[in-house]
């Protein structure tokens, strides 16, 4: 079990990194607006990122949707 002498310090370093990252995100204002990001995934502004063939398929599917 002597491995814990290595693993626990590593865990502490990880926590330190996590706290640093958390501080960074708080200070840069990422926690100020918790509502918009949740909706932003629904904004369809990624049109240019969708490959052409996928778009086509999407349209075909749409045609088949029952009324």
């Amino acid at each position: 079990m002597d491995i814990i002498f290595l693993l626990i310090p590593i865990a502490i370093i990880f926590v330190a990194c996590a706290i640093w990252a958390f501080f960074y995100s708080v200070n840069s204002g990422q926690f100020e607006d918790l509502e918009t990001p949740a909706h932003s995934i629904l904004f369809e502004d990624d049109e240019h990122l969708i490959p052409e063939d996928a778009k086509k398929q999407d349209k075909d599917n749409q045609g088949q949707t029952p009324e």
Partner: protein, 784 residues
């Protein structure tokens, strides 16, 4: 459609062939009038003021690469669709580097290239899609709030991460204690948990220590004192145990306790900040620019550069920039922002006009008499501050219990320590410590915050936002509830109530003619007709101040307005129709040949108001109505709702005095209001609740906001607050009972440390579980 954002989304849905959605929708709404607003020349020249460097220096930052950055407050944002629309539209503009809109605080951050696009064009674009943008200049208070929020979030994060790590090691230690573990591993793990727990105590738990120190200095024992003693004592004892390799460590309990308490405080702070958009409050009322007359020439200047004695011209539809006296012209002034009254008031030459009100009909020239701190608006704000200072403090049950509790614990600990020091000095430290740990006020200090947090969350889901900690307690003790009339018990705008036809045409026909006449007027009376669809088109429209409108439809002259005015257009062959007996504001529609119809307009009482008052009576509350209105409508509303005490025609000062009089007689008052004029009285009442549609200034200063503007939610809130109080009592009784039982045992040295830890956790869990019963508006809490 609630906002331009939704309109645009709806349009997108239709454009992309998804309009089947509307076929399957249960309710139908009228189709939006999807036109972009046009920006007039006058507005452009007003916005151009924002391009001046002297004005920009307050809120614009110029980056090194020549780009400019500013934060704007956007009015009119209601949902994520607005954010989508604004971001898309702004990012499409040439010259905009980055635009991001925050849905929570309605602020937009803009980065743009001033060489390509001036700021005024951006503001105009925002206006064009249906929103209003103002520069955001945070005051000192707001910057402090922002810092407080960030610090609290950081503390919560440190406590949470620390707690998880310490807990991980604690599980190993507990497991080791049961199954056997090498002592070098135990020592190492204790050191490891000490390393992690130290920042939690020194950084995350700091607010408790600071508050406890402050309370001790002011000789007032609050809950922070036992919390600090428990956290600090258990931590120091654990450190001592770790360093000397003896006794027990409590790092897990300490960090968990800190984390739970911080969660409670964080939620409370968030609720407090939610409505705290104080910076927008005054901004929305006063315009940014004014038209000053210099040597007979009209010049547009920033409103804050106005001085006493300046002459300003106020065009119809514009906001009065400062207090002043009319020196030329007459018009009617919409004072609803200040008084909540919806009908414009007539002002003649020589009359005083208040800054922040809106000129409705004719251009007037004003001589500025008061600016800045002396203005009426500022004096209302000052009245508010004074009222807040005088406000009776709602003493919190937990704090009262805490002071006795702390005194008892400290006394006992000292006595126990001293006695054991006499009997066997080597055991004295550990036994005194176990007394302190066993009486750790975890359960006691969690008793109130958990119940309050659960109840606040429930109320928020049901449309009541609680912004101050004491509200639930003072709500539960309320004896009187005082309502403002306009905008609170009533809808706050004129609606068409009745149409009486005077000839053989249908009422609909007359309504359409009236709607055509009123279509282009922005007068509150005209707005009541705007919802009516009309196939007619009126020409040669003329408005007569305070009387009515005249226009031509299909070659016939029509008049609508006050009976005398409207009847004057008729030929003499007709007798003037009698005014119907029903109370309300009656308008007559006439054409050249005959009177056609009566229209009755009234400020409608909210549909749920009568039932709410009935329920409030059942709950044992006295309902009163306090209003600045002195017309006959007051009594009508009061009888319709069954309110017994009515005080009408009073000024904000008198309102405040009345509330203070009630309080002197021992009443606990809830005030429900919405206008700027209600703010002082809102601040003076033990509990103040603003309607969701209230002005920002009113909402910021209220203890609670009825988001949905549904008065029935008030009864929910009162019921739940009463239940909360009984749950807090149960929690306090339980935790005090537990401590009383454990204390003598610990003092005699009977309690092993692991038993103390177990008991502490169990009693906390009981308290939390009990509080969670408030998280639903159960049958007992809900209004039937």
């Amino acid at each position: 459609m609630c906002c331009p954002g939704c309109q645009a989304v709806a349009q997108t849905i239709v454009d992309s062939g998804l309009d089947n959605f509307y076929k399957h929708r249960a309710t139908t709404s009228y189709t939006p009038d999807f036109t972009l607003k046009s920006v007039s020349e006058a507005q452009l020249s007003e916005l151009a003021l924002y391009d001046q460097d002297s004005i920009q220096q307050d809120f614009v930052v110029t980056a090194e690469n020549g780009l400019k950055e500013a934060t704007l407050v956007i009015e009119g944002i209601t949902c994520a669709a607005c954010v989508w629309l604004l971001e898309h539209h702004l990012n499409k503009q040439d010259g905009v580097e980055k635009a991001s809109v925050n849905l929570t605080n309605h602020r937009a951050r803009l980065t743009w290239n001033p060489q390509i696009l001036p700021l005024s064009m951006l503001l105009a674009e925002i206006y064009r899609i249906g929103y209003q943008a103002h520069p955001y200049t945070p005051n000192k208070e707001e910057q402090l709030l922002d810092q407080e929020r960030k610090r609290a979030t950081r503390r919560l994060g440190v406590a949470g991460l620390g707690m998880m790590q310490v807990m991980m090691i604690a599980v190993a230690l507990y497991g080791g204690a049961l199954q056997g573990i090498e002592s070098k591993h135990v020592t190492f793990m204790r050191w490891a948990s000490m390393v992690i727990a130290t920042p939690v105590i020194l950084y995350a738990a700091r607010p408790f220590f600071v508050a406890a120190l402050r309370d001790l200095r002011t000789r007032h024992l609050s809950m922070d004192v036992p919390v600090s003693i428990a956290v600090g004592g258990a931590y120091l004892a654990s450190v001592w145990a770790t360093v000397t390799d003896s006794g027990e460590v409590y790092f897990d309990s300490v960090t968990m306790f800190t984390f739970f308490l911080l969660i409670g405080r964080f939620l409370e702070m968030q609720a407090r900040h939610r409505t705290g958009r104080a910076g927008n409050a005054m901004l929305n009322l006063l315009p940014a620019s004014a038209i000053k007359v210099i040597d007979g020439e009209e010049t547009m200047i920033p409103a804050k550069e106005l001085a006493v004695g300046d002459r300003v011209i106020i065009k119809p539809g514009h906001t009065v920039p400062a207090d002043g006296r009319i020196i030329a012209g007459n018009s009617s002034i919409d004072e609803s922002a200040l008084t909540g009254e919806y009908l414009p008031i007539r002002k003649e030459q020589g009359d005083e006009v208040i800054g922040g009100t809106i000129n409705v009909e004719n251009p007037i020239t004003l001589e500025v008499t008061r600016i800045g701190a002396e203005s009426q608006l500022s004096s209302i704000v000052r009245l508010l501050e004074r009222a807040q200072e005088d406000k009776p403090k709602a003493a919190q049950l937990a704090d009262r219990v805490a002071s006795y509790f702390v005194a008892a614990v400290l006394l006992t600990a000292v006595t126990v320590g001293f006695s054991w020091w006499l009997i066997s000095p080597e055991d004295a430290f550990w036994i005194t410590l176990s007394v302190l740990v066993v009486t750790c006020p975890c359960a006691l200090s969690l008793a109130t915050p958990t119940a309050l947090t659960a109840a606040t969350g429930t109320l928020r889901q049901n449309g009541v936002l609680i912004t101050r900690g004491h509200v639930l307690e003072s709500l539960s003790r309320a004896t009187h509830i005082v309502f403002d009339k306009t905008g609170t018990l009533t809808e706050g705008n004129l609606t068409l109530q009745d149409t009486l036809s005077l000839d053989d045409h249908t009422t609909d026909h007359h309504l359409q003619i009236a709607a055509a006449l009123e279509k282009h007027s922005e007068h509150p009376i005209a707005q009541a007709f705007h919802a009516v669809f009309t196939p007619y088109k009126a020409e040669n429209l003329q408005a007569t101040l305070g009387q009515g409108l005249e226009g031509q439809i299909d070659g016939l002259r029509y008049r609508i307005g006050k009976p005398d005015y409207a009847f004057a257009v008729c030929s003499n062959t007709h007798t003037k129709p009698y005014l119907p007996a029903v109370c309300g504001q009656w308008l007559l529609l006439c054409n050249e040949t005959a009177p056609l119809a009566w229209f009755r307009l009234n400020d409608q009482v909210r549909p749920e108001a009568a039932q709410t008052i009935k329920h409030l009576h059942q709950l044992g509350l006295k309902c009163e109505m306090l209003t600045g209105d002195s017309s006959s409508a007051v009594d009508e509303v009061a009888t319709a709702l069954g309110i017994d005490t009515v005080i009408s025609g009073v000024s904000p000062e008198q309102k405040l005095k009345h509330i203070q009089q009630l309080q002197r007689e021992g009443a606990q008052v809830i005030m429900v209001g919405d206008g700027i004029n209600d703010i002082p009285v809102l601040a003076g009442a033990q509990t103040s609740i603003a309607m969701g549609s209230a002005t920002d200034l009113a909402k910021t200063n209220a203890d609670g906001v009825l988001i949905s503007a549904d008065l029935m939610r008030l009864t929910d809130a009162i019921r739940l607050s009463r239940k909360t109080r009984s749950i807090i009592r149960q929690n306090l009784a339980w935790s005090a009972g537990y401590n009383l039982l454990a204390l003598p045992l610990a003092a005699l040295g009977f309690i092993a440390p692991y038993m103390a830890a177990l008991g502490m956790s169990l009693s906390s869990i009981v308290v939390v579980a009990n509080a969670l019963r408030l998280s639903k508006l159960g049958k007992a809490n809900r209004v039937k």
